[in-house]
Amino acid sequence: MKRFLVFVKKEFLHIFRDVRTMIILFLIPGALILLFGFVVNTDLKNATVSFLDLSRDEMTVKLTDKICSSGFFFRGENLDSYQEIDQALRGNKIKAVIIFEKDFSRKLISDGKATVNIITDGSEPNMATMATNYISAIIADFNSELVTNGTTATLLVQPEVRMFYNPSLKSQHMFVPGVITLIMILICALMTSITITREKEFGTMEALLVSPLKPIQIILGKIVPYFILSFVDVIIILLLSRYVFDLPVKGSIILLLAETMLYILMSLSLGILISSVVNTMQQAIFISLVGMMLPAILLSGFIYPIGNMPKIYDWISAIMPPRYFIIIIKNVMIKGTGFSYIWKETLFLVLFTLFAIVLSIRKFNIRLQ
């Protein structure tokens, strides 16, 4: 045991001596959480739209004003003809064109019907749907004003909504759990796989193996410092989200921290597993980054809800640990639910950790023989 502690201490010193890596280890989570908190969000804002107004009458001016003053859209250059649409969209200057047909007001009053045509840039489908939806909603609102202004009638059914868990509709609620999940698995897997592979590549592993330390102690000694560092990282993220974004942990903090430790342990074992199958640091880094980054971003439910994906991805993403941790952290942190809601996900993480450890020990033993 004493020998083991000495070894752990040596590993710690090793890490702390590399000042730059230390800085980055703490900078990455901090910067990313701020990035997502302040910079990246999925709302529609300031999308530039151009108008092709073939009537220029009272009604179209009113509607144009209503759309432009909504805060979602930014008014681009006016277009004069259909021919200009393609050029404007192709140059990527605008996201949508709103076309008012000829004789808009007259048709609306005499026929009771006039048409607005929205053309959006489908090469950015997300932007296109959002813009279409928002413009349609504004026009629907305008429609109901027309009804109530023109007649004495009122709308009888008045719906109201309560936004659960996130009343102010901040996108941080979505991103904070995602960032913790993403960063932890990438950094942990990267760190452990590099540090173990490094010893292998430079031949220092053999020196360790002939020492009185058992292989399991060597591996543990290598991951203990990273376990502690990662845990500190999580705490930094949680503090930032509490004090910068006003996003407190609603449920039990103890439960959250315990689950986080489990997840870190899982990610570290994944790193060990990677290091047991590769020979060089280059390979380890390639697998942990190129191999894992995109799947961890895309198949975890971080930005894209799994429920929206084709059915088969329910199965594919079922083997992605980040998916489960995001559910866990959303439940405990944002919904404030207890362990009974997340035991299945927790169990999966435990199983995955055991699987990774058993598999790497077997690989390791084969190599030693």
């Binding site: 730059r20 999925t42 609306l108 009771g112 489908p125 059914v157 868990y165 509709l169 994906m309």
Partner: protein, 372 residues
């Protein structure tokens, strides 16, 4: 020139001697593209709606019928107790709850306004807003029906209504694959080149072979070029494979000039490879390079506009994003492939990449020291 040839030859031998990496640089992008591209969609397939109908009248049933009939909502549960509905929300088994209060039908019959209460799981704020907007739409429609019945019984003038029609250009059916495929391809090409080139240089430092190079008359620019070109070629091969997959598997249209796309990608790759080498001249170990590189890469990718719109970022962040090369290539890929944009349309982005490439490679050559 001959010197560069020998250096490049050496890099290629080394890359492909590593059996794992030699295969992975082509296999990983192919596999990831095939798996990841179809997964990603912002389109909400269905909103799981739970209705708590405390009224149970013809009127409330008409509204429920309208919701059941809409393709957007999947009415999974209709329960009576509210508590049960909230539990469903907690367990993530429904996204939206609509409560129809008792007396709803009676109020409508009398012509007095009545309220509906909806509760949404708003952790994903965007989804919540969108489902709420759809619900609102259905309810508005329901309102209009009531009004129309009432008004048409009194007068003959129709209710003036503006109709909305819409079209998505360049991607009529709003196929998300068309959008994600060029994006994911761009990220993969970036990641592979960036990591391999950067690690390659640091590794030579770490194991000391760079010393042997430094006592030869190899010029600094030759050395850096010989580190860029192999990964540039690999990147372009990956790009060609990716485009082929896009066209053959995902039917992504290719409207513009393929040469223009390759020209832009070449410049983009030179820019990011130069940056990778620049970072590695500052790094002593592969580990150091990796963490610095990871930091840059993840910020580049997440701020590239592919996952979330750039327009939604604050203005200061958009300004910082001017330094993000990935933004430009994402835009160019999409514009050239889907919209058939010509050089004229993308010249700003093109110029930005050219400047970027010149800056990073010059700095990398300058920072690389043959003497200590």
């Amino acid at each position: 020139m001959r010197t560069i040839y020998y250096l490049i030859r050496k890099e290629f031998i080394q890359i492909f001697r590593d059996k794992f990496l030699g295969r992975a640089i082509f296999a990983i992008p192919i596999v990831q593209m095939l798996i990841l591209v179809p997964a990603v969609t912002f389109e909400i397939k269905e909103v799981r709606l739970c209705i708590v109908d405390k009224d149970m009248t013809t009127e409330s049933r008409e509204l429920v019928g309208k919701l059941v009939g809409s393709t957007f909502f999947k009415v999974g549960h209709t329960t009576f107790p509210e508590r049960e509905a909230n539990e469903l929300l907690n367990r993530d088994q429904c996204d939206l709850i609509l409560q129809i209060p008792a007396g709803f039908g009676k109020d409508i019959g009398k012509g007095t306004p009545t309220q509906l209460m909806a509760s949404a799981n708003a952790i994903n704020a965007m989804n919540a807003q969108l489902s709420w907007a759809y619900l609102n739409g259905v309810i508005l429609d329901y309102n209009m029906n009531i009004l129309a019945r009432e008004i048409s019984s009194r007068s003959f003038s129709p209710i003036p209504q503006i109709e909305v029609t819409n079209r998505y250009w360049y991607n009529e059916l709003l196929n998300y694959n068309f959008y994600m495929q060029p994006g994911i391809l761009g990220i993969l090409v970036l990641a592979i080149g960036f990591i391999l080139a950067g690690l390659n240089l640091v590794k030579e430092k770490e194991i000391g072979t760079i010393e042997q190079m430094n006592v030869t008359p190899v010029k600094k620019y030759q050395f850096i070029l010989a580190k860029i070109i192999p990964f540039l070629i690999i990147g372009l091969i990956d790009l060609a494979l990716g485009i082929a997959i896009g066209i053959l598997v995902f039917n992504v249209p290719f409207e513009g000039s393929i040469w223009l796309l390759f020209l832009c990608s070449t410049i983009f790759l030179i820019a990011v490879l130069g940056l990778a080498l620049l970072i590695s001249t500052f790094s002593g170990t592969q580990q150091q390079f990796m963490f610095t590189g990871f930091f840059f890469m993840i910020i580049f990718i997440l701020m590239s506009g592919i996952f979330t719109p750039i327009e939604s970022m604050p203005v200061w962040a958009q300004k910082i994003d001017l330094l993000n090369p990935v933004v430009y290539i994402m835009r160019i890929n999409r514009m050239v492939m889907l919209k058939g944009s010509t050089f004229q349309d993308i010249q700003t982005e093109f110029l930005a990449l050219v400047l970027y490439a010149i800056a990073t490679t010059t700095l990398a050559v300058n920072r690389y020291r043959k003497t200590a």
